[in-house]
Symmetry: D2
Subunit: 300 residues, 4 copies
């Protein structure tokens, strides 16, 4: 495949000089809430994008490979820009029929090009309404695969770095032995890796997610979800499914946008977090989240 | 749909101040050769992209909606950049099964978003290898439809203008009563419209293309094709199918890249044109054709 | 294209010897209710198939080209068989992104093969659970196009006749000058054409549907819908939007399954029709609707 | 998922009473040649279907999921019927972009429905031109996966058995420890499993295929290919890559139809095999290969 190189202009960004530990310190003063949006397709709706976009600070917007027709994506970008929500490219395997939830043994060179194609497509839509893609989050089976699959993780990172080294990469939190391949590859390429945790998923004592096949894997009680969110955001720990406290170092909390009460839960969560002195804010510095494109285009 | 606005940085470009007649004057000193490339898909090949890219000055690169998987498109972009060939986004209806050759009665708001998505996707790939999209050419049935369909022509132009007002639009030549809707809408939006003619298609006395359903519609004799190309490029006229001379004002000549001898014909045509003192060169100013992205990204 | 011939075994069916007027007479003793089902796709749901399948007598099941993944279609076939609901192949243009609602200028030979492919695919699924396709109904833009487009109407009919001349064709009611091309072609090919009317759409004085772009085109008041259904079923007339009575000769009433209260409306309608001595029953003879496949497979 | 049951009529077929060893005995009197056809898509061609269909006895016809638009498939079915070639459904993962060559971790219930859909679609096309599907062969990554993946192998077999228990299943030869999951599941379900070997692939001493990543994996010399074909067909053995003789029990030889000289190689192979007293003939009994549909439809 082609030798590829970064493509967008570079601007001095003081916040980038911070180390990861500084990031973690930042994370204690505010917390990012992210959710998947734009996941309908043509006639089919999924989730209440408009309501979610009033609560979250980061929107993982589908890019057309697992969901998201261009017209819907354009509209979602417009709402995200209007609400000051950071836009992320939720890149996926090419699999509308499987909603990107099935592992595909795609060659790394294909995956890199597929990811580049998706980022560019969404960024074009976002820029046409005054926004821009500021981070990339793999979706579904790709999300799970890049936790451990070195070649596919590297393929995603090559694409992100080739598109723009200022883009952040959002993925599963994990440290020490459970540090993910995506995080390893991102940091090796000089990209910022943002760790996320789940307010509505049970954790094992090792700090990994309890498999969805096991009972208790998903928290459905809003109070329990809020408590876990608060615990992660304020103490960096979570009560595991067997009762021990485990460290979960996360800068962002992921909400599942397609469950019935998702928007209500988001309102509740945001209120509780804010009320505890932990405001919800993008993990990006204020300017970058909403008007990076303006920074890139001084002449406008 | 969202209110959309231009998105890339604006740089003073003296050549843009020229009027259309100046463009026509320019066109008499050189001629652009364009061809469709990147039109395979996955396992399926079509045409000899690598050979064509050594001869043409403009490459209409598929964007994935009628043809073109991302890996192939990335490779084609790389070759185009290496050869100094201008990159155009060959946007299409979403129709892999029909290769974009079937009219689809798509709503304008959908078409605008589909075109934006395609331009962005190709531009992302192009930029990752040091190039960028510099013009847009509708493909197949969309090409024919925007000649006369006001709503679809406007939908395409809204997308191009929203993406970048510096992008040129390439389409069918036509003046006076046969001026195309695409040209009308492009100029109304302040976009440069580049007229193309066909070296291998017969023209009527009115200056329109002879329908493919009629005998003699397609020229297959290389000498005849070369003669017509030369006539268009040097005199701005062509001998119509009934023997009269008609004016064809064209800045670019389109070669059909998927016919068997396409690459050989391109070599032949380029040699003849150059030999007659009519060098083959992009319709874009020298810098814009190959390193607009560099101009946009001074810090690299 | 290939010369194609009918393909399934022929069984003497006395009801087939009836003339069209006999059919109309039959229609006065019972009325068919049909609705679209199976129109989700993968992750995306649409309508309450399970509830609708307890009320309708005919199920227009999507075939994968505008909606309907195979697993869902298999399940819908199983429920239809369990409920004794006749299975129709709801064939469409190939257009998931547009839900089959956009006209595509497809060549007749392609359309014939596309329709054959869809009927066969659904019939295979239906037969694996003990049912079979007993009629074909074009969907969306194809439904509207075959009202007047001779070549596409003929292409659909060629496919149906080649698959099985016992299949009925369901389409828009219309007589005299408003008789549809699909009806003309179906009867020319010796296929039974079944006329349907709409309980929830306003009619013009000429007996055609009021365009959806005009106010009052769609009836939303359940009482008005029920009244129109009853009027069509029992008197063969309907009150037009300008107040005149127009004849609507219909053997089947179409319910729109994807509107919010669709299932409730179906319950209501069925109760009212039954209560008036107009039972809801398939337009097929009793045996054919549910166990034609058994008739074809005596050895089972 | 639905409980599914066999669907086509059952006819006494004496040849079906034979045991597997009888089959092997049959295989020594003739050999089947199979090749993939119908693998273009829309504008894209692949291989010379028409030439191959004059040489092979079995055609693995694509079903639209990895390749094959309906119009092309209909035409290929027509040619197969005209040439007396047995029609097989070459079922695949849903993956046009990857040509079905990438493993997809699809759920068994989805895979069963996908396979049913594909068999039905192809059978409908075949029946409309007087043929019918008589066997099923998984394609590409699915072919390789069902060698060892119990759930996916079972999912394929459930679909085949539900469609018609008379269908044969064609897959990789292997006995003892290298007997494939597909063979195990097929025989457990009472389906005939037909073993195939490759004339142009090198074998290991264990009787498995040498990985394509190793040198010498693919034989390109026509003489070597013919010699291996002859050896398999007449002696049931093959010279492994390290020189030892290994048993390869095969009733069918697979030719790769998309290599440049495929059609010429087929002519050559057929001539050599026939010349050695080993006629090329379908693994199906004479009647079943070409007019099973006639048997099913006595009234035609």
């Amino acid at each position: 495949m082609a030798k590829i190189s970064p493509l967008r202009s570079r601007i001095a960004r003081p916040w980038r000089t911070g180390t990861v530990s500084t990031m973690a310190a930042d994370a204690q003063r505010s917390i990012d809430l992210n959710a998947d949006v734009g996941e309908g397709f043509g006639r089919w709706e999924l989730g209440d994008d408009e309501a979610l976009l009033t609560q979250v600070s980061s929107a993982n917007i589908a890019c057309g490979f697992h969901a998201g027709d261009p017209r819907r994506l354009l509209e979602v970008c417009r709402i995200a820009v209007a609400n000051g929500v950071a836009i992320g490219a939720q890149v996926s395997y090419r699999d509308l029929a499987g909603f990107g939830r099935r592992f595909i043994d795609v060659e790394p060179a294909d995956l890199t090009a597929d990811v580049l194609y998706q980022i560019g497509a969404l960024d074009g839509l976002a820029r046409s309404v005054g926004g821009s893609v500021s981070y990339v989050k793999p979706h579904g089976a790709l999300y799970n695969t890049v936790v451990h699959h070195e070649d596919q993780a590297a393929a995603v990172i090559v694409a992100v770095a080739a598109y723009d080294r200022e883009l952040a990469v959002l993925g599963l939190s994990g440290s020490g032995p459970s540090r993910t391949e995506l995080a390893v590859q991102a940091e090796r390429a000089g990209l910022r890796f943002v760790r996320e945790a789940f307010a509505d998923r049970a954790y094992t004592a090792e700090g990994t997610l309890v498999s969805r096949r096991l009972p208790g894997a998903v928290l459905t009680d809003p109070a329990a979800v809020a408590a876990q969110a608060l615990s992660i955001a304020t103490t960096g720990t979570v009560r595991s499914i067997d009762g021990t406290a485990v460290e979960i170092d996360a800068e962002s909390l992921c909400l599942h946008g397609d469950s019935p009460g998702a928007a209500d839960l988001a309102v509740h969560l945001r209120a509780i977090l804010t009320g505890t002195g932990m405001p919800v804010a993008s993990f990006l510095p204020p300017a970058a989240a909403t008007n990076r494109s303006a920074a890139d285009s001084p002449g406008r």
